[in-house]
Symmetry: C2
Subunit: 331 residues, 2 copies
């Protein structure tokens, strides 16, 4: 399927389920760019879950995000219990203007259902010459270091750095040791996981994906990853007056919908923050990136950019069973 | 030794080596609070290294930090090639005022020699009711994921969250898999390291601490830790017009002094960023912390606070050989 066809299919499924035009376009765009960049975790196979969330009655199908200019460096977007991506799009012009004026600025998105990879948001800012840092909680599936049961979310964090004439440096990773979707895949295939990924319902280490889904996931990187995940809970939650992963899960009332919480996006303008030394800073940054290449280490976004070049030219292979399932959802 | 005696000893060594009164007091304070909180990595045993840096001729012994009010949410402190902590102290009032007015604000410290744990700085901000995030590069001792030699620094990151009537939530960790000082200790004791800590000079995994010191360290958490470390390079380096760890090492000219680069400190006022929901946010944050305690998981700062209660009452045991070495440095 071409990328246009993927967008159109996603849009039809979402709007057919009842989502307003603006929200359906925003979510379909995320799905399209995820397929484009070979990030299946946010691609077409997430549509059935979106439809479940759309039909739950908890998600606002047509909330128009309210943008509030709070301070010279803070914009707040009340998503009104709609999907997050439209809120991001509506608040971005103000965030960009504030970052360019102040050097550092933040966008606090409140009360959004989260279905949006963070890297497309970060890239929207690097495309404008800004550095960006975005984070969200999720649901309380992940045990803290030394713990036995879910408390933290899978808590993604994404960062982007603009590079003149090149793809930006971008990473976007979950702070859980494994993506929850990958854990679900292991369960359905019956393949084991290594130790360090999850705990069983009794709070002890397990190599059984199913037991880890019923028990708790673990963070990457031991106590350091656990601390970073806790920071994301606090910064993208209580700091902006919004839910932790624990509070999001309570709000969910065991309906297993998309998490509902906030999102924190920070934008930084090197031209302001580096003062008179922006060219020197850029040279130091590029020397760092050259250092990766010289020793054969890949930058985290290279795989996505290679996929992008390929899929724009050749389109995307969509498994037939998934395609048929989505066509059925349309009707 | 009492904490007062530790401060006095550190101050005499530093000022005796030629450091100005203001800088000697600032560095001695860091050494005292590190001993107080049982963080030996920034305690008395670092004084000989400080003296080497002081006598190198590269460090300014008496630079008065220049504070520049750049934008409503950005303050810059030119440390003038002095130690970093005095620059932090001089810029903090402006950072605090900006965070309280704007919700989010940043302090960019430029051209500082770094000897300062980050958690005392973060705590200085949580004491005022602000959340804080601080980071710095170091020297290019750490290989990126998939790489073979040093490129990234040990790149510490520290975060603090204020809690009413309680110690703040604070973490401060190196993004290397092991602290470099611990690696040096292993070398001197001849004890091995597990795989995943370092690479030998040939770029292959090693369990020999000495080989890892001559080769490269690795980050914690695989490619995610490597990405986080790269973010710290970019945000606390080129973003603020300052050196990466690679550039810091070049500046060092193999003298093995303290790294010379920048530092980025961000401060956040929940009262502004949470808007009308600051009380609700606080309740969600405290429920998260309760969740740690209920499952027997420790918060990252608990060990330090326990040490603090003990050393304030009982003082600190200083090994006699170290004490004698420091007394010799005094004269």
């Amino acid at each position: 399927m071409s990328l246009d066809e993927i967008f159109a299919l996603a849009y039809r499924v979402l709007s057919g389920a009842g989502l307003s035009r603006a929200h359906a376009e925003a979510v379909a765009h995320t799905i399209m760019v995820s397929e484009r960049d070979a990030c299946a975790s946010h691609g077409l196979h997430r549509l059935p879950g979106c439809v479940m969330t759309i039909r739950s009655g908890k998600l606002s199908l047509d909330a128009e995000p309210k943008v509030e200019d709070v301070t010279p460096s803070l914009v707040r977007v009340d998503a009104g219990y709609g999907y997050s991506r439209l809120a991001f799009d509506r608040g971005t012009p103000s965030l960009v203007e504030k970052a360019r004026r102040c050097g550092i600025a933040a966008m606090a998105i409140n009360d959004c259902f989260h279905f949006s990879a963070l890297w497309p948001e970060v890239e929207a800012l690097t495309d404008l010459g800004l550095a960006a840092l975005a984070m969200t909680p999720s649901h309380a599936w992940v045990a803290p270091a030394g713990g036995t049961r879910g408390l933290l979310g899978t808590n993604p964090i994404a960062f982007g750095w603009p590079r003149s004439g090149r793809h930006p440096y971008v990473f976007d990773f979950a702070t859980s040791a494994m993506a929850r979707s990958e854990l679900a895949r292991r369960k359905s295939e019956g393949t084991p996981i290594v130790e360090g990924i999850g705990l069983g319902p009794d709070g002890t280490p397990t190599t059984d994906a199913s037991a880890a889904l019923d028990g708790a996931m673990l963070t990457f990187g031991g106590h350091k990853g656990s601390a970073l995940s806790t920071m994301i809970e606090l910064m993208a939650g209580p700091l902006i007056g919004d839910r932790t992963s624990l509070a999001s899960m309570e709000f969910d009332e065991d309906l297993k919908l998309a998490p509902c919480h906030g999102e924190l996006v920070m934008a930084f303008d090197p031209a302001v923050m580096a003062g008179g030394r922006v060219d020197q800073g850029t040279a130091w940054a590029e020397a760092l990136f050259s250092g990766f290449a010289e020793q054969g280490a890949r930058l985290p976004s290279e795989r996505r950019y290679a996929a992008r070049a390929r899929t724009i030219a050749e389109g995307v292979s969509v498994p037939r069973p998934l395609h048929e399932r989505l066509l059925a959802l349309e009707s």
